[in-house]
Symmetry: C2
Subunit: 357 residues, 2 copies
């Protein structure tokens, strides 16, 4: 599950029991109703039978240490990013999902789908549906891409449709421009050769093998092999599985009162579309173990001010395939969100494992 030690965020000086308890109560209260929490409220909430005055002293200390912040003199206190950090790392009491919820998730994830993108869509819908936040699933990505089958179809004079089946599941189609026209027979033979020769091999190796060894010797090759080389050159040219992700439920973010600044929101939505920056963020999570959480600007990414990102990588046979998670206002119900992200990642991994055969 979520490894509390593993998360970075600066060291915390020892706080005594009571102080921690009050911080915890304050954050929970603030997460619940979004209002700055005052001493009287907190005193009642914490169940410690302390007077507001005492609580005030503690709160002053916590503010001094950078865990809390007053919006202004006479409002209550609000957790800072640092405060959330401590809360999540040390104080949070997770609320694991019920069996029924897990079962619901499993059923939805195990439903048959056509391809990885569709599965990603389903899962990010799930994430966003359960949390009422934005769900994100990074598409499966492998460093070992196995060629399962390749097929060439002539579309016109110099255009050939390539159908590439990878990893037993993923199908890619691409259209390539050829130097000269090929007839159906030639294409068929080339495909046959490639399939016979390279099925089950890693695609990078295929490329290596074909191009390094054969390209220079091109002139001396027979006609078939020349065809093979030209096809292969373009077929395996670019990284066949692009890096991408699927977002669902962005609109939920428009409902959180915390993110009501229209312009901020717009920038956030644009970030979802541009992808580049967010991909960078997710890449960081790829190699972390278990659930990882970025609070506000911790992500080093201005647009996410006021937002938190909760992610978990999902793996098949120890190989990290991608990351999934949730993006929402920093004031989110971590106790529910963290287990959900965690379980979802596991279920997705399990589903992919099954399909792997």
């Amino acid at each position: 599950m979520y490894n509390k030690e593993s998360t970075p965020g600066g060291s915390h000086p020892a706080l005594n029991e009571r102080t921690q308890h009050l911080l915890k109560a304050l954050v929970e209260r603030y997460i619940r109703d979004g209002q700055p929490v005052g001493s009287r409220t907190l005193a009642r909430d914490a169940g410690l039978d302390l007077s507001p005055a005492t609580v005030r002293n503690v709160m002053a200390d916590l503010e001094e240490l950078g865990y809390l912040h007053s919006p202004h003199t006479s409002a209550g206190r609000v957790p800072t990013a640092r405060g959330y950090r401590l809360f999540i790392d040390a104080l949070l009491h997770l609320r694991p999902l019920g069996d029924r919820e897990i079962e619901t998730l499993r059923q939805r994830i195990d439903q048959p789908v056509q391809n990885g993108a569709e599965l990603a869509r389903t899962v990010s819908d799930l994430l966003s549906g359960f949390t009422r936040l934005a769900g994100v699933v990074m598409l499966p990505r492998r460093n070992v891409v196995t060629l399962r089958h390749v097929e060439f179809l002539s579309l016109s004079e110099n255009r050939v449709l390539v159908v590439l089946v990878l990893n037993t599941q993923e199908v890619q189609n691409r259209i390539i421009q050829t130097r000269r026209p090929y007839n159906a027979m030639e294409l068929q033979q080339a495909a046959y050769y490639l399939n016979a020769q390279f099925t089950g091999k890693d695609i990078h190796q295929v490329r290596e093998a074909l191009l390094r060894d054969l390209r220079e010797a091109r002139d001396s090759l027979d006609r078939l092999m020349q065809t093979v080389v030209e096809m292969a050159e373009q077929t395996f040219e670019t990284e066949p599985v692009g890096e991408d992700y699927v977002v669902a439920g962005q609109t939920h973010l428009m409902q959180c009162t915390d993110l009501s600044d229209l312009d901020k929101l717009r920038q956030l939505f644009e970030a979802f579309n541009h992808k580049r920056d967010l991909l960078h963020l997710f890449d960081q999570c790829l190699h972390a173990e278990g659930v990882q959480i970025f609070i506000g600007e911790e992500s080093g990414f201005g647009v996410l001010e006021g937002c938190s990102v909760v992610t978990a990588p999902y793996t098949v046979e120890g190989q990290v395939l991608g990351v999934l998670g949730v993006i929402g206002p920093t004031r989110m119900a971590y106790d529910r969100v963290i287990p959900l992200v965690d379980v979802t990642a596991r279920l997705l991994a399990a589903a992919l494992n099954e399909k792997r055969d």
Copy 2:
């Protein structure tokens, strides 16, 4: 180009020249700067050398007739939906695109792409980029779907990957569950048979031919034909080309001051995601000729209050393939948007025609 007569919207009583001119000037002014227009401003703007008092009288008449509306006693006037309608149908002076702009568009649209979805994405990016509104492109849809090629690949015991090439361009992949396991040879033969027999045929006919004629005679068929029938049953089961569209640049809508109501905006965004309702709207435009415009609630679709939709169908060989267009605040620069949508539809049609071979 845009056929002014064809658009519905109720008949308009004859307005004299001057009144029309003033309405036109008012709408233009309002579109330009978004403020209710007062009599003094309009008098100066219209260039008719009239006193504000005269203009006031005219405005009062126009309000009486339902073309204008005062937000309150002492603001200027604002066009009503009816006012926009008249403006667009009878008063608007289009500003055609420059040759350079058209050339830019053409180049972007003619760039080689992998498939219809990618092209749709490009075009809706274009639409949204040029207008700073949301661009929409409905994916090509044909009632005649030609089978170009089919391929079967065994994935596991009872799962077969079907690769379907349609209309020379579109590739579809689907995974089907079979009743019994098939080996590679059987699948290959089945595919070979189907290709030999049905390439170039309409896919509905293929389904008809195979299933109606052969299913009942199943028991008497040889092994090959039994395979063919089982494959075909599932391969051609569902409508192979789904109805869908691509939206780009929604975030632009968050910038228009007109649509600053966060909750309205949220509903609009959700409508983009749910698709169903909007698809219905676009379906209506499919069979209209040329550019069509819905103003606000005219679309009969509450979420679009305050929004206008400008669409045009695009056709290949007289067959309507889909619709594209733009969604934005009713206060948009119609004189630019209409020609843009019109030209884009033509260019897209041309591009698709070329690719058709």
